[in-house]
């Protein structure tokens, strides 16, 4: 390791220029008398340009800059789960212990507790041939997650010795025949994707319990989704719903340049929530990264890489990981801010010209892979985008949409009507249904794709009819079209709307979603029959059992009762015919 040191030449906000050192690109350096952490982002003659991860007020030219010889890395090993980090993997809890409630600077904190002892259970034995990614044992990190210990990429050979027992994470638990010592902790540079054997096509849905997402615009495990939307449209709530309810085994949540109070809400609430799939606290499978909008901007830029590297590490154990980044626009703005301090030639709207390639590189780290160890693992990435004025023609939205396969378009108009989740069903899309249809047929119902098509085409027809209604009023439409409008209203109010703050409605199993969709189609079919038999539209719409069916979704045990409620509705609709 090099201890070469130089001097500060210039300071401008988070960007510091040093002379007298010749570091590598992206090398971590220590800046100033307080040793603030920084990263080299440009070399210019004998000057090295550094982005500093902490506040630079009061730093002077002439103070020292010291090389560390390492690039920005994260520590990976037992202890990651349930943690809350800042953008450069400093645990916020230890920062509170050392500096109190306000984040000051010049404090180092290890990303993992290096002294804590974990029970290591060896699964490989002496004499086994191993290589990078091979699992050699595990630690029961939380009640629900087995943290697998792997050979770090780049090492291979025959195991000379391995032992189970209590160790801290830097102590060797396994020795290879060439003398390499393997500890439970490994480090990985955040800007380099972790290696895998090959990428596979995603063909299993990530089930989120959110009806509009699962049913109409599904995301596959290993897929990518973008959620652009103006402020107040519900990006954060949607992201948090996904973090709560999606059936991933590991969740990495990056709060990138967002609100402090909102992060606190997540931090206080998650430990009390139970995972519907395991019945254990959700926090057990979660790692959070919180770099709020007023924390240093360079650390915000790094936070996204820190998060995805942690996600890849769990993927390499063979887990399905879901990563939420809220919001990627703040990340892009951090790039813009740094780029402007570097006086780089700007691209569109002042963003650096490399914005879209950085976005692409980030989303490309998602995927379903065969790991080096031969397992099947995935990282799904869901990025929120905050377009200025809600106008998605801006560079970050456009750069995102070019890459992601699922687009959940949030709509201010729907949010104003308190239609939540305010995802526009006309403009949103998912490119996964084809790949996933077989899974739905095998696991939910053989006609699942057809039911979905019917529901979405009803919504399309409604949009066309609404244009006419805007001109002539709904009474001018023929009866069958008025019924279509009622059915579509039922889809919107009963199916698409979902109350994230309601204990029961917040999560719907996929099977129930299918039943609800079928109930809507049944209402349509039977009403058509009844109206052909002389019943009026008002009669069928107003049967009390329909209200019961719709309100029932707020009650426990709805999945068991829906069949019965549906039967009652059908009966009452049939009766309207007899009355006439």
């Amino acid at each position: 390791m090099s201890e070469e040191s130089g001097l500060i030449y210039r300071i401008s906000g988070p960007v510091v220029t040093a002379v007298g050192i010749s570091p590598r690109m992206y090398e971590v350096v220590r800046v100033g008398d307080e040793g603030l952490m920084g990263e080299v982002i440009e070399l210019h003659g004998d000057q090295s340009v550094i982005q500093v991860y902490e506040e630079t007020s009061g730093i002077k030219p002439g103070e020292p800059v010291v090389r560390t010889g390492q690039t920005l890395s994260v520590k990976l090993g037992p202890g990651l789960l349930t943690q809350i980090y800042d953008g450069i993997q400093r645990p916020l809890e230890s920062l509170e212990e050392t500096m109190g409630v306000f984040i000051t600077r010049g404090v180092d904190a290890d990303g993992l507790d290096l002294t804590k002892k974990w029970e290591f259970n060896a699964t490989a034995s002496a004499g086994d041939e191993v290589s990078g990614g091979s699992v050699i044992g595990f630690v029961q990190e939380t009640e629900t997650v087995e943290h697998k210990i792997m050979i770090p990429p780049g090492h291979s050979g025959k195991i000379a010795s391995i032992e189970s027992g209590e160790f801290d994470i830097t102590t060797s638990v396994c020795t290879l025949e060439d003398g390499t010592e393997i500890a439970m902790m490994q480090e990985w540079p955040v800007r380099t994707p972790r290696p895998f054997k090959q990428k596979n096509a995603p063909d299993v849905p990530l089930i989120t319990g959110q009806r509009i997402l699962d049913f109409l615009f599904p995301l596959a495990k290993g897929g990518t989704a973008g959620i652009p939307g103006p402020f107040g449209a519900g990006k954060t709530v949607t992201q948090q719903q996904l973090a709560r309810w999606s059936d991933a085994q590991i969740v990495v949540y990056i709060g990138c340049g967002e609100r402090g109070n909102e992060m606190t809400e997540v931090l206080t609430e998650f430990p009390h929530l139970t995972d519907p799939n395991t019945g254990k606290p959700l926090m057990n499978r979660t790692t959070m990264i919180a770099n709020t909008s007023n924390m240093p901007v360079a650390a915000r830029e790094a936070s996204v890489y820190t998060g995805i590297t942690i996600a890849e590490y769990f993927r390499d154990m063979g887990y399905d990981v879901a990563l939420m980044a809220d919001s990627t626009s703040r990340w892009a703005e951090a790039m813009r801010e740094i780029s402007s301090r570097l006086e780089e030639m700007p691209g569109e709207e002042g963003y650096p010209a490399y914005l879209s390639s950085r976005l692409a590189e980030f989303y490309e780290r998602a995927g379903r892979v065969q790991t080096l160890g031969g397992d099947d693992g995935s990282v799904s990435v869901i990025g929120a985008v905050s377009p200025p004025g809600g106008d998605i023609s801006e560079p970050v939205s456009q750069g995102t949409l070019r890459i992601v396969k699922v687009f959940w378009g949030l709509d201010a108009g729907l949010a104003r009507q308190r239609h939540f989740p305010a995802i526009n069903w006309l403009s949103s899309y998912s490119l996964y249904p084809q790949a996933l249809d077989q899974w739905y047929r095998d696991n939910i119902a053989s006609d699942f794709p057809e039911v979905r098509t019917k529901i979405s085409s009803l919504l399309q027809v409604e949009a066309e009819l609404q244009e006419i209604v805007q001109l002539v009023g709904s009474d001018a439409l023929p009866m069958d079209q008025q019924l279509t409008l009622e059915v579509a209203r039922m889809i919107r109010e009963f199916f698409l709307q979902q109350n994230a703050f309601h204990d029961v409605d917040t999560f719907s199993q996929l099977g129930l979603q299918y039943e609800m969709a079928k109930a809507i189609l049944a209402f349509q079919e039977e009403s058509e029959k009844a109206m052909a038999g002389g019943a009026g539209l008002e009669d069928v719409v107003n049967v009390p059992a329909r209200t019961d069916l719709m309100r029932g979704r707020f009650e426990e045990g709805y999945a068991e009762r829906i069949g019965e409620l549906l039967g009652e509705m059908s009966k009452q609709i049939a009766e309207t015919m007899e009355d006439n």
């Binding site: 007020s57 409630v101 901007v297």
Partner: protein, 461 residues
């Protein structure tokens, strides 16, 4: 640091002064300039290197010449803070403006402020009753929240801010708020209006004012809100006060920020505002909140006027992405003669759900709020339709919604400037009464159990 004075100014450009070859000067260090006629000006280092320093001068660079002496004070900008700030009026740079003595400092606080560790924050969930139905029912405010008022020129945002300052209190608590008021580039007339109102109600003794008026230096506006927030933090976290910070007008602040950016020839972002405006605003807005282990709190009410009533303009837009909601003032309602002209549809309080409900306001609050919203939104949409096809084309449900929208505006939104409605009888019961104008079968957002309990004509008695 030595008191050495430099006379090495090379360039003066707008509010910026460029100096050559100095001793090492720290980033953000405070600077004093002595003009040839003896006038003193203050500034701050924006960029520093071995051979060049850029200083922004708060009072503007008028009369600065190459002979001007520049002294670096060896420290970042600090505000003398003490409990004695309460009841005082200071200027935009933190000097007494009320003719009173200098503040006797209990501490010198760095005005940039440090970020609160998200882990150390306390979740804001104590409902603040403002006595204004539109806010209490539909965009409920909680302690520690930052909730801006998005207004526009010619609208009564000042009256609303003052009414909130007067009436805000926790239900079932005697804790009063201390008001920290920060004026940025507002007119003397507006300022007098605020002061007189605060005086009239006796609130002035419980307030600290930081004032930069329209004819005060524009660059000074960049530090005025930071002084106010530094004072607020000190009062809240060292002396357990609940502080309500009102600052007006954020639009003037952003203009000054743009001015500095332009003078530095920075690459501009949208509409010429600097690319770091989001971060800059966040460093102020995020100073709201509550922290573990401290009794006090900071609640912020920034007021901003949307240029051209445009909510997508960068100032309201970036603010909306940082703040926990917004209260939107509507010109249309104002022209109808409704006070307070709050348009509840684009208004939002993100922390509302944590602050309302059983034990906080009332169990039916969320349900009622959703229903009011849905019905009013429906009614307003129908107004557009009626203008084209006439009321005859509407069905029963639509007719009821249409009528409800008028009633809602006239009876629920409208209240007088000194009317302080309690959340249960004043606001929620009123809402239930108005909702009787719609058949219960159309009130789909209301849980049946609340209809049974609260509906004036349908409840089980």
């Amino acid at each position: 640091m030595s008191g050495k004075e430099y006379r090495t100014i090379t360039d003066v450009k707008g509010p910026l002064v460029f100096l050559e070859k100095t001793e090492p000067v720290a980033y953000n260090e405070i600077v004093q300039l002595r003009l040839s006629d003896g006038t003193m000006k203050n500034g701050q280092v924006l960029d520093t290197s071995d051979d060049k320093v850029i200083v922004q001068v708060f009072e503007g660079t008028e009369s600065v010449d190459r002979q001007t002496g520049v002294k670096f004070l060896g420290d970042v900008f600090r505000l003398p803070v003490s409990k004695g700030l309460i009841g005082r009026i200071l200027d935009g740079a933190g000097k007494p403006r009320d003719g009173g003595p200098e503040i006797v400092a209990e501490d010198m606080a760095d005005i940039i402020g440090a970020a609160i560790n998200p882990y150390s924050r306390e979740s804001p969930e104590q409902f603040i009753q403002t006595g204004i139905s539109a806010i209490d029912a539909c965009t409920s405010l909680v302690r520690g929240q930052k909730l801006p008022i998005f207004s526009a020129s010619g609208l009564p945002h000042n009256d609303i801010a003052l009414q909130i300052a007067r009436q805000a209190r926790l239900v079932g608590s005697d804790d009063d708020f201390v008001v920290v008021f920060c004026a940025m580039g507002i007119t003397a007339e507006e300022y007098n209006f605020f002061v007189q109102d605060l005086e009239r109600t006796g609130a002035l003794e419980n307030a600290a004012l930081f004032v930069n008026l329209a004819d005060d230096p524009a660059v000074e506006r960049l530090i005025t809100p930071r002084l106010a927030l530094t004072a607020a933090e000190y009062l809240a976290f060292e002396h357990d006060y609940h502080v309500l910070v009102i600052y007006t007008d954020m639009t003037n602040y952003c203009e000054s920020l743009r001015q500095i950016g332009a003078a530095r020839e920075e690459v501009p972002g949208r509409r010429g505002y600097p690319g770091y405006m989001y971060t800059d605003l966040a460093m102020m807005y995020e100073r709201a909140g509550m922290v573990k282990g401290k009794k006090g709190s900071i609640t912020q009410f920034p007021i901003l006027t949307m240029p051209g009533d445009d909510i997508t303009h960068p100032i309201p837009d970036l603010s909306g992405y940082i703040t926990e909601g917004q209260i939107v003032i509507s010109r249309e309602l104002h022209q109808k003669g409704i006070y307070p002209p709050i348009n509840v549809l684009p208004s939002l309080s993100r922390l509302m759900n944590a602050g309302i409900g059983e034990g906080k306001t009332r169990e039916d609050h969320k349900s009622v709020s959703d229903q009011l919203y849905a019905a009013y939104a429906g009614g307003r949409e129908l107004r557009g339709l009626v203008a084209i096809v006439g009321e005859d084309a509407l069905n029963e449900r639509d007719l009821q919604l249409l009528k409800f929208a008028d009633i809602f505006e006239d009876q629920f939104l409208r209240q007088s400037r000194d009317e302080d409605r309690s959340i249960d009888e004043g606001t929620l019961d009123l809402a239930w009464n108005l909702l009787t104008n719609i058949d219960t079968k159309y009130l789909v957002r209301l849980d049946q159990k609340w209809i049974d309990k609260y509906h004036p004509t349908e409840k089980n008695s």
